[in-house]
Symmetry: C2
Subunit: 154 residues, 2 copies
């Protein structure tokens, strides 16, 4: 429950673009891309073990990967969508759509879904059960896609 509460708080932070410390637009884009990239690695590991089966099932590695995804999702990444980062900055490219900075209701919806799915993936990983993880992984993937479809350029 504690984690879900934190998730909700992060979604609020996402909606209000709470900014915890001074940084420039380029840094903000780089930090958020780093978070997404690191989650992609952890998602790929879980996929390899729980879905594709091309890597032997290892519940400890799955748990570590899911914990990392949940903690990243709940780290308050909304603060990295500061004004000025709705477009490329110098050599730093972003695929975000400007709508992410104006459609607060839409962002809150996909943000909440993402926090919930990431938190539930970590809870599923704690069971150590492959089918439970596979199901939660599918839901997490859908929550990623929900935002990509709406707020990320192809």
């Amino acid at each position: 429950m504690k984690k879900i509460v934190l998730g909700s708080l992060s979604a609020i932070a996402l909606a209000t673009s709470l900014n915890a410390f001074a940084m420039d637009a380029e840094e903000a884009i780089e930090f958020r891309q780093a978070g997404y990239k690191f989650m992609a690695w952890n998602m790929a590991k879980i996929k390899a073990m729980a879905i594709d089966g091309d890597v032997e099932w290892n519940p400890q590695q799955v748990q570590a990967a899911a914990n990392s995804i949940a903690a990243t999702a709940n780290s308050g990444m909304g603060a990295l969508f500061i004004p000025g980062t709705e477009k490329n900055v110098g050599n730093t490219k972003t695929r975000v759509k400007p709508e992410m900075f104006t459609d607060i209701e839409g962002v809150t919806e996909v943000g909440m879904a993402f926090h919930k799915a990431a938190t539930e993936l970590a809870a599923a990983a704690e069971t150590g059960d492959k089918a439970t993880v596979a199901k939660a992984f599918g839901a997490a993937g859908q929550s990623c896609k929900g935002c990509h479809d709406k707020f990320r350029m192809d």
Copy 2:
């Protein structure tokens, strides 16, 4: 305790370069740099609140940042130091020293220190006490530096 056990397992993974799924050298460098960069953001947030004081103390944000650092540290990043990533790959630059791939004892030492410090930072954040977090933050920073000094080029 559970987290500390996971930390130790990750350090073993670090030492043995356990590789959870197929990826190329360029991807491995990009994934590990993403993890370090995202930790840097979370460290900067804690520093701003617990050390510099230029951002108002917010125990929930500190906790979220510390959880993210601990989960990243315990995610098995050692698997990203695959053979072929001890040097630049194409346009993907790395500052790692080749010694990181040969000095198993040294890597295990700094790796264990890092996992321990990151886990203790998350535990300190749970107390909500600024001085406790400041102390744990200092130790975590030292553990980062311990590896940078030994295995990262300037």
